[in-house]
């Protein structure tokens, strides 16, 4: 790149072409696994177990998707939806109240509180799982949607507070203050004025929790024993390590099915995703 950085139009055109070639190459490498997953999901077993592999399915089949849309997988998908939506509702509600409090008050130890929240992200999950397992087991909510909703809400809450504090900080307090002077209570003001003005932030936080919960694997595996509760990732792992072994077409179709909801969310709400990702790292 550097050798032909500045110079004649010719060398500039060459440099442009070189850069585009690099872009295309990295795109191919990064997207190849996803492409291969999709291609394989449409192949019949006869075509999967051949060498050399075929680049596209010569006899496309929906057989794998028949398995992917079967009762077991669809039930796990529904479980995942319930858990992710529940976790998103709880974490976003609790987190937004807390973030608003941190943003608008100036108590001592405010920075320490925020740092502590961030630090909890490093707590070893398997260590936390010991006590969570015992707690859920004693309170009788082991193997329910509720225990997974609470777990997922708890591990995402710190990030939600961090994300939303930025949004509230950016919101000028004038409108709220006017409402307070008019006699509004704290919660009226919060729900009627603050929340409607920060819907993009709340959406970003909600999506972050939803996607994290959707992807979460180990709680779902350890805290469930029946398929009426078990979320999709845990269900897939059990099938994959058990009866799905060597049924690559079916496995790929299921992998496509678990990926589609989050990818669809991403396509529609790309901006919010990126906010969620850079929140902790670039600022802070």
């Amino acid at each position: 790149m550097s050798a032909i950085a500045i110079g004649s139009p010719m060398s500039r055109a060459l440099r442009g072409a070189g850069l585009y070639a690099l872009v295309l190459l990295s795109l191919c490498v990064m997207l190849f696994p996803i492409g291969w997953m999709i291609v394989t999901s449409f192949k019949l077993p006869d075509e999967i177990f051949v060498r050399p592999p075929t680049i596209y399915p010569h006899a496309p089949t929906l057989q794998g998707y028949g398995v992917a849309f079967s009762g077991t997988i669809m039930m796990a998908l529904a479980n995942s939806l319930i858990i992710a939506a529940g976790a998103a509702a709880i974490a976003t509600t609790a987190g937004s109240l807390c973030a608003y409090g941190v943003s608008r008050s100036r108590f001592a130890g405010r920075t320490a509180f925020m740092t502590l929240l961030l630090a909890t992200l490093g707590l070893p999950i398997p260590l936390l799982m010991l006590t969570l397992y015992l707690m859920f087991s004693w309170s009788g909510i082991l193997n329910t949607h509720l225990c997974l909703i609470l777990s997922h809400a708890a591990i995402t809450l710190p990030v939600v507070v961090w994300m939303l504090k930025d949004f509230f900080d950016a919101l000028p307090p004038d409108v709220e203050e006017a409402a307070y002077i008019d006699g509004a209570s704290l919660y009226t003001c919060f729900w009627r004025i603050v929340v409607p003005m920060t819907t993009p932030g709340l959406a970003a936080a909600g999506i972050f929790v939803f996607v994290t919960s959707w992807n979460e694997f180990i709680f779902g595996l350890a805290f469930t024993t029946s398929s009426s509760v078990r979320p999709l990732p845990a269900m897939i792992s059990l099938l994959f390590l058990g009866e799905f072994q060597y049924r690559w077409g079916d496995a790929m179709a299921v992998a496509v099915v678990v990926t589609i909801p989050v990818m669809a969310l991403f396509v529609f709400f790309q901006r919010y995703f990126i906010q969620g990702i850079t929140a902790g790292a670039v600022k802070s």
Binding site: Y100, L123, T131, M135, A153, Y187, I236, V258, Q270
Partner: protein, 297 residues
């Protein structure tokens, strides 16, 4: 500060209650109790428990498996983070060139970040399949290998499988974070350097890198901490094998707890892991602090 909130301290305090309750019950208490469990022989499979002092710690420190697992985790996570950091940096620099279609490129690269770990696990098993995997096919075709490699049966190769999965998943994060930092570098500064005749490499080395170095390091550290938690790939793709080669600290702790049901040993490993993290967190705090002081100057 908001006058209303100052006048209504109890209402203000109530804003924090749900988060603090959830955090205390679901994070702080399990952490503290987990460390306590390290000093017991507790197991969900037996009633009651006894305090055993430092026995669990003595056991894991004498256990060859523990050290092997610690070393393997470090190898896998350090190399994944480093490789992803370098590739993410390269991609971010490429995107920062202001080519047309950059947004589309960014969106497409970013797809990897949203693919669930379980899908990557299943997919990686297929990509690296011994007999029919595309990776073996391509490598044999390119002459890198004489014949298909049995990826999951060899310790070093199995590590590569896990590392490549980690790298593929976190490159987009690195790219986005570094790109955000790059876009914060003042264009005037770059233009001035260009006029002074600085080459691309010189501009990178003397202007851009010093400005974005901290962001890169912090992003890498953050990812490393997250990768320590990651358990899906080692559990599903390699089951930690062959012979512990891909057993990370998280998988090791999980197996102790939920396959051997030995909460005491699992607690001890978790406690040691937390101790190591305190050191890492100290490093993180130090760096954030240094960056803040630099920004003030």
């Amino acid at each position: 500060m908001n006058a209303f909130l100052r006048a209504h301290p109890w209402a203000t305090l109530s804003l924090f209650v749900p988060t603090i309750m959830l955090g205390l019950v679901m994070l702080v208490l399990p952490f503290l109790n987990g460390v306590l469990l390290a000093f017991t022989d507790a197991s969900p499979k037996s009633r009651g428990f006894a305090w055993v002092g430092l026995e669990n710690f003595a056991y894991i420190f004498e256990d060859r498996n523990f050290w092997e697992v610690a070393r393997n985790s470090l190898t896998i996570i350090a190399s994944s983070t480093l490789i992803a950091m370098l590739l993410g940096l390269a991609l971010a620099l490429l995107l920062n060139e202001g080519l047309r279609g950059t947004r589309l490129f960014r969106t497409l690269i970013f797809q990897g970040w949203v693919v669930p770990w379980i899908a990557i696990a299943v997919l990686w098993g297929w990509l690296f399949n011994f007999d029919y995997g595309i990776v073996n096919h391509v490598l044999v075709l390119a002459g890198v290998f004489d014949r298909s490699a049995n990826w999951l049966a060899d310790g070093a190769l199995a590590k590569i499988v896990i590392i490549s999965g980690f790298v593929w998943r976190i490159i987009p994060f690195m790219m986005i974070t570094i790109l955000a930092a790059l876009q914060g570098v003042s264009t005037e500064l770059i233009e001035a350097a260009k006029i002074d005749g600085a080459t691309y490499r010189q501009r990178l080395r003397h202007i851009v890198f010093p400005l974005i170095r901290n962001v890169i390091v912090v992003a890498a550290l953050l990812q490393a901490v997250r990768l320590f938690q990651e358990i899906t790939l080692p559990l599903v793709v390699t089951a930690g094998g062959p012979i512990n080669a891909t057993t990370t600290l998280s998988l090791y702790t999980y197996k102790l707890a939920f396959q051997q049901w030995d909460f005491g040993l699992a607690g001890a490993v978790g406690a040691v892991w937390s101790g190591a993290l305190v050191v890492a967190a100290g490093l993180y705090a130090w760096m954030v602090d240094r960056r803040a002081r630099r920004a003030d100057r």
